[in-house]
Amino acid sequence: MSIFLKSILIFGGLGLGLGILLAFINRKLAIAKNIQLEKIIEALPGSNCGACGFSSCEVYAENIADEKISIDSCLPGGKEVAHAIGEIIGKEAKLREDQIAVLVCQGGRKECSERFIYDGGTDCRQAYILHGGNKSCVFGCVGFGHCALVCPFGAIRIGENHLPIIDEKQCTGCGICVKECPKMTLKLIPRTKLVHLGCVSKDKGNTVRNVCSVGCFSCSICIKACPYDALKMENNLPLMDFSKCTDCGICVYRCPTNSFNDRANARPYAMISSLCNGCGECVKVCQFDAIEGKINERHKIIIAKCIGCGECFKICPVKAVKMAGALGHQRAA
C-alpha cells in the first residue's frame, strides 16, 4: 500500500513538524507571561469602554503592569477595581473621586423655543452640523439623544422635555458621553457635589433672556450672595470653584431664573433653641430673611422661607441653632 504509507508519512510528518515547531516557538517567543497581568485583567470590568483612555481593558492592564499609569483611571471600576489592582501590584491606590456626568443645560422644549423647524437626521451630531442645531439658544443641548446612544451603561434616556435624564445609580462616570456630545452640554462632576450651574450659554444677558426662560443672564446675584465666594463671573457665566463650594444651596435659591441645578433631594431647615439670647447675628446673615424676632428675645425661624443653607448655624455665638430635616446636607435618599 504505497499510497497509504506515503500519505501517512507526509501528513504525519507535517503534523509532527508543526507540533514541534509550535511548541518550540511557543517557548522561544513566549513573552514574560506574568501572572500579574492575568490577575489585573480579571479584576477589570472588561467592558472596554475606553474611559481609561486605552482601546481595551487588556491594553490598560498591560500599562498598569508596566507601572506606566496610575491604577485608578478605570472610572467604571471605581474604588473596588482600584483597590483590587492595588493589592495585586502592591501599590496603594491613590483614589480619584468617584465622578458622575450631569447635564449643564435646563433649556428643554418648554423653556427654550426653536429657531427653525428641523426634521433631518435624528442624531445630535447631524443636527449639530446644521448651524449647531435648531434650538434658539446656540449653546444649549439639542436633545436628540446621542449621549443615550453611546452610553455603554445605558444610564441616559431622553425625557419628554427633549433633554437627557441621567440615572445616577447606573452612571459610572466613564465620561464617554461628555466626549461624544457635540454641544459639550454634559460635564463630569464629583459624585458628592450637589450644586452645579445648569447653563452653558456664554451669550450676553439680554440675548439669553429672550431665548431661554431658565438661562443664566449673568446678573451675578449669586456671586454676591455666596458666603464662601466660590463663584466668579467668567464670560457671562458664574464659574464655581468646587474646592470652596460647600453645596449650601444659597445660589440655587437666590438665582432669579433658578439656573442652578440642585441634586439634593431634600434640604434641611434651621431651628432655634431656647439658648438663643436674641443677639440678631443670624438675622444679618440670613439672606432669605427666614428669621424673625426682636433684639434680646428668642428668635424664630420661618420654615417656609428657610432653605437650610446653614449660615445662621455657623454664625450663632451661642450655638442655639440646630439643623433638622434632611440630616444636614446629605441627600435624603
Partner: protein, 208 residues
C-alpha cells in the same frame, strides 16, 4: 520538554496519522471509479472532435450516453494514446492513421480553457471542442467562449487561417471576451505546429 508540551505534539501527531490513513483509504477506494469516469469523458471528447466525415468509411459517431457507463465506442475508430492525457493518434479499423487529437489548456483569465482539437492528416482542423464544465468558474455562470457558434468557426480551417480578424476569412472574436478568444486561437495555432510531426511519420513515434 514538559509533559504537557509532549502531549500536545503527540496528540497532533496521532490525529494526523489517523486522518492520513483514513484519507488514503478513501482515495484508493474512489480512485478506480474516478479514473473510469475520466476515461469515459476523454473517449467522449475524442469522438467529438474526430468524426472525420471525409474519411473513407462511413461510420458516424453515434450518441454516447455519459450517464450509462457502457462504453459505446464510435464504430470504426481506435485511439492510441501517445502522450498521457494530451495526444492521441486516430486510426481507422484498418489501422491507417487518419489524424491526431490533442488536448490543450491555454491560459484564459477565468483560468485555463481546456480545448480538444481534432486534426486530419491534411493538417485541416476537423473540429474543436471546449469543455464547458471543466472551466473553474463560479457555479451557474457560463462564459461566452463556450458558445458553439464560436467553436463552429474552427471547423474545416487550415492552420494559416487561424487568426483573429473581422472578416469571415479569419476567426471572429466574441464581443466582451476578446482576451479569452485570442487565447484560444493562439493556443490552437502554436500546438498544431508542435504536434504536426506526428501526422507525417507513419510509424509509431517514440514519445518525445
Amino acid at each position: 520538554m514538559t509533559k504537557s508540551t509532549v502531549w500536545i505534539v503527540l496528540s497532533l501527531f496521532i490525529i494526523c496519522l489517523i486522518s492520513a490513513g483514513l484519507l488514503s483509504k478513501v482515495y484508493t477506494l474512489t480512485r478506480a471509479r474516478i479514473e473510469l469516469i475520466q476515461n469515459e469523458k476523454t473517449q467522449l471528447n475524442l469522438a467529438k472532435v474526430s468524426d472525420d466525415t471525409t474519411s473513407t468509411q462511413t461510420g458516424t459517431v453515434d450518441t454516447i450516453m455519459l450517464s450509462c457507463l457502457c462504453r459505446v465506442l464510435p464504430t470504426s475508430k481506435s485511439y492510441i494514446e501517445i502522450i498521457k492525457d494530451t495526444l492521441w493518434i486516430v486510426n481507422d479499423e484498418r489501422n491507417q492513421k487518419i489524424g491526431i487529437v490533442f488536448k490543450i489548456a491555454p491560459q484564459g483569465y477565468g483560468g485555463p480553457i481546456p480545448i480538444w482539437v481534432g486534426l486530419g492528416t491534411d493538417t485541416i482542423i476537423q473540429k474543436i471542442f471546449i469543455e464547458a464544465d471543466e472551466l473553474k468558474e463560479t457555479p451557474g455562470l457560463g462564459t461566452q467562449v463556450v458558445e458553439s457558434s464560436f467553436q463552429e468557426q474552427f471547423t474545416k480551417r487550415a492552420v494559416n487561417e487561424l487568426k483573429l480578424s473581422q472578416d469571415t476569412k479569419g476567426i471572429q472574436a466574441i464581443t466582451g471576451a476578446t482576451i479569452s478568444s485570442r487565447a484560444v486561437v493562439n493556443g490552437i495555432r502554436d500546438n498544431i505546429k508542435r504536434y504536426k510531426k506526428y501526422l507525417i511519420s507513419d510509424t509509431l513515434p517514440k514519445a518525445p
